[in-house]
């Protein structure tokens, strides 16, 4: 990539099922303040561009970018919303730096899902209004249909999925930001409420509230100021045809497309063994398996990762352990990966972590997601 970009500061707040003591703006302020302190910068003087990843209906606010500037030091500055997930936001932030818009860019995303009274109603509004929405199926029902097709067509059994789910929940218990860590058995999983066959409650990441801010800088700035950085070696995002429109069920085309481009930017081959850790989207348990399948070169590589022999999969516990943070889910994965590469991941630390792959998905009913390659 021309003119490398690095992450020089991270900050977060919340990471609870319900953050009731902070408003959305206060949540953003806390996360931004910590990020700017971590980066040791004066944002009003040094940050040249601000990007927030928001969707109006999750905010309960039309034109949500209106209400973001003040609390992240962006008032009266170049600021915009990217209505997408944090990896799309990261990509746009990288492009800002590489196009010469700014040397420093703030990237922000948050979830205040607890404030949304009827999340299912909001989710259904994302369905295509003429042909899909009139069917009356909720997003979880659509997920269940895909899950069924994926498991069947991909030849995956319930045991493989359950073992993965159990592992994520256990890993989450080491994450101070995870509210949903647990030691579960297969019997526990079997007792989980059936949402829509074969999807059980335990297969779906519960919602949580959190705010995360990253500060990015150009390589020139980083070297001039002699700062440490976690480098963004590659970032790409893609949309493929949703399965209900004729797209695949076994492979997530958006994931494999973004992965190919991101690793190419990073000067790597498509080899998951090149990474020390993978933080893949697991909004639903089957999606974690599907995303891994979409990135792996072969079933053998996939099995290696599942067996624990390859890069560590979702050391944070993923969304299944930490919570579905809406458009901030990918920010959470980026945050965890930065901490890993810095050696600041505490009990979750992957020994010698130097390179991470972060993958995102925007959720049902989309077939959109991204991949970022980070290194230190």
């Amino acid at each position: 990539m021309p003119n490398r970009v690095g992450i020089i500061g991270v900050g977060c707040e919340g990471f609870r099922p319900v953050v009731s003591d902070l408003s959305t703006r206060e949540l953003m302020f806390e996360a931004a303040s910590k990020a700017y302190a971590d980066a040791s910068i004066e944002p009003r003087k040094e940050v040249g561009s601000f990007i927030c990843c928001t969707e109006d209906l999750w905010e309960g606010w039309s034109i949500a970018d209106e209400m973001v500037p003040d609390q992240i030091a962006g008032a009266g500055r170049p600021l915009c919303t990217i209505a997408g997930d944090a990896i799309t936001g990261l990509g746009n932030a990288v492009m800002h730096i590489q196009a010469g818009v700014a040397e420093l860019v703030t990237l922000e995303a948050h979830s205040k899902a607890a404030d949304v009274i009827d999340k299912e109603a909001v989710e259904r509004l994302a369905q295509e209004p003429s042909l899909i929405r009139p069917v009356g199926a909720g997003n979880d029902s659509l997920a269940a249909l895909e899950m069924d097709a994926f498991m069947r067509d991909g030849g995956y059994d319930r045991e493989t999925l359950d073992d993965l789910l159990i592992r994520m929940k256990v890993q989450a218990m080491r994450n101070p930001r995870a509210s949903f860590g647990a030691r579960l058995s297969r019997t526990d999983l079997e007792g989980s409420e059936l949402i829509s066959s074969p999807l059980r409650r335990i297969d779906k990441a519960p919602y949580a509230d959190a705010g995360v801010v990253l500060v990015l800088a150009s390589e020139g700035w980083i070297r001039r100021k002699r700062r440490e950085a976690v480098w963004v070696d590659g970032v790409a995002w893609n949309s493929s045809l949703p399965w209900y429109d004729g797209g695949e069920t076994t492979r997530a085309g958006y994931a494999s497309g973004a992965y190919a481009r991101a690793v190419s930017q990073a000067g790597l081959r498509k080899d998951l063994g090149a990474f020390d850790l993978l933080e893949l989207d697991d909004t639903y348990s089957y999606k974690l398996l599907q995303h891994l399948h979409s990135l792996a070169r072969s079933r053998a590589e996939e099995k290696r990762v599942l067996s624990g022999a390859g890069p560590v999969l979702n050391p944070s516990g993923g969304s299944l352990g930490t919570g579905n943070l809406l458009e901030a889910s990918a920010m959470h994965r980026l945050l965890e990966s930065v901490l890993q590469i810095r050696g600041q991941a505490g009990a979750m630390q992957v020994s010698g972590a130097r390179r991470a792959l972060v993958q995102s998905w925007r959720g049902i009913p989309t077939a959109t997601g991204g991949v970022a390659v980070l290194s230190g």
């Binding site: 209906l57 009266g76 990509g91 990288v94 590489q98 509004l125 209004p129 995002w237 949309s239 925007r362």
Partner: protein
């Protein structure tokens, strides 16, 4: 661009498709030549579709590509090609299709009701505030600060609606008089019916390419030489509304990049955001195309007429062509392009057209987006 109309039968996807198709045809390209897509569309509340960018993907050629939806309220239309600009200028992509779409008509009983939810839920929504309310406040403040009469502002509506008669896509081109404006229905004092642009449906698109690619497709590409954007504090009640400082900040960012020191001298014309007639004057001053308080005088003297010394909104603007929010800003970018290419037909300005500006505005009286282009 598509027609701009109060209610089009096409869906948002279909409008996006039509505009994208026209842009591809104009460039001599197919979707195979497009590496990335930037979509611009304002509140999801209009269409009643959450994550509207995902919904519009199929009509905008976004499947199988990197696509981003950029969003700064009413500023989106000019910001969409700005987003496409950084996709190409960063070196990440050689081509980018920028599509701006708006379908306001699905919202019942009236598109204006979407704007109820742009206000602060604690301090403003309980007041039952509407967008027309706060624009009326701003218009009143501008008139008071510069001792401007309503009749002077009405000249903008007369000019733009007349200009729009020559725009093939225009929704409300008309030959009206100042008296017609003054006698039109009072909405919120001092705002009257003819002071306001209409809600509309429509879409517009442009294609950006790196220099190397552009030269393969045309001998005379139109260049983007300056981009700027700025979002002011959400607390509009704490700002003096007589002057859009955020528009000036956005303009300075674009002028710095384009090496423009004297915009009135360096630019030949401008497409300035005019959802209300007073906003054209407001924005002319924010863009430093007129001194503070001077814009009404320039309008009265005919300077901003299509045949004048510095044409403003030769297209007919939002007042005449229509205001499908994001698409309206993109319409202005298209107009600048056509003027610079000499392809504006009966709207072609008489003076030289070598460098032009498009500007949009939005949010809670708080965002400015600016693009300068040259031949």
């Amino acid at each position: 661009m598509t027609l701009f109309r109060r209610r089009l039968l096409e869906t948002g996807r279909e409008l996006s498709y039509e505009a994208s198709n026209m842009a591809l045809g104009s460039a001599g390209m197919t979707m195979k030549d497009i590496e990335s897509v930037v979509i611009g569309s304002a509140p999801d509340a209009f269409d009643g579709v959450h994550m509207k960018g995902e919904y519009l993907l199929e009509g905008s050629g976004g499947i199988g590509r990197a696509n981003s939806r950029v969003y700064v309220g009413g500023g989106t239309g000019v910001f969409t090609p700005v987003g496409a600009w950084w996709h190409v200028a960063s070196g990440h992509f050689d081509t980018c299709l920028a599509v701006a779409e708006e379908k306001m008509s699905p919202l019942h009983p009236h598109p204006q009701t979407a704007f109820w939810s742009i206000f602060d839920h604690t301090t403003e929504r309980p007041l039952g505030v509407t967008l027309l309310w706060i624009f009326a406040l701003e218009m009143r403040r501008y008139m008071h600060a510069h001792n401007v009469k309503e009749e002077e502002i009405a000249l903008v509506a007369v000019k733009n609606k007349m200009n729009a008669l020559d725009h093939p896509c225009a929704q409300l081109g008309a030959k009206i008089t100042v008296e017609d404006v003054m006698n039109s229905e009072k909405i919120v004092s001092p705002v009257k019916r003819y002071d306001v642009s209409p809600p509309s449906d429509g879409a517009a698109a442009v294609i950006l390419a790196s220099e190397e690619v552009a030269r393969k497709y045309t001998k005379d590409p139109i260049w983007i030489d300056g981009v700027g954007w700025n979002v002011d504090t959400q607390y509009w009640t704490n700002r003096d509304l007589y002057y859009p400082a955020y528009v000036e900040s956005a303009a300075r960012m674009a002028y710095k990049m384009a090496r423009i020191e004297n915009p009135r001298r360096s630019l030949d014309f401008a497409e300035v955001y005019d959802p209300f007639d007073y906003k054209e004057l407001h924005h002319m001053e924010g863009l430093m195309l007129a001194n503070k308080g001077e814009a009404p005088k320039l309008t009265k003297e005919g300077v901003t007429q299509r045949g004048g010394e510095f044409p403003i909104n030769p297209s007919g603007g939002l007042l005449g062509v229509g205001n499908p929010i994001a698409a309206a800003g993109m319409m202005k970018v298209c107009e600048v392009y056509w003027q610079l290419k000499g392809e504006a037909g009966r709207r072609q300005i008489k003076n030289k057209a070598e460098r032009g500006l498009a500007q949009a505005w939005g949010d809670l009286l708080q965002v400015g987006t600016v693009l300068t282009m040259k031949s």
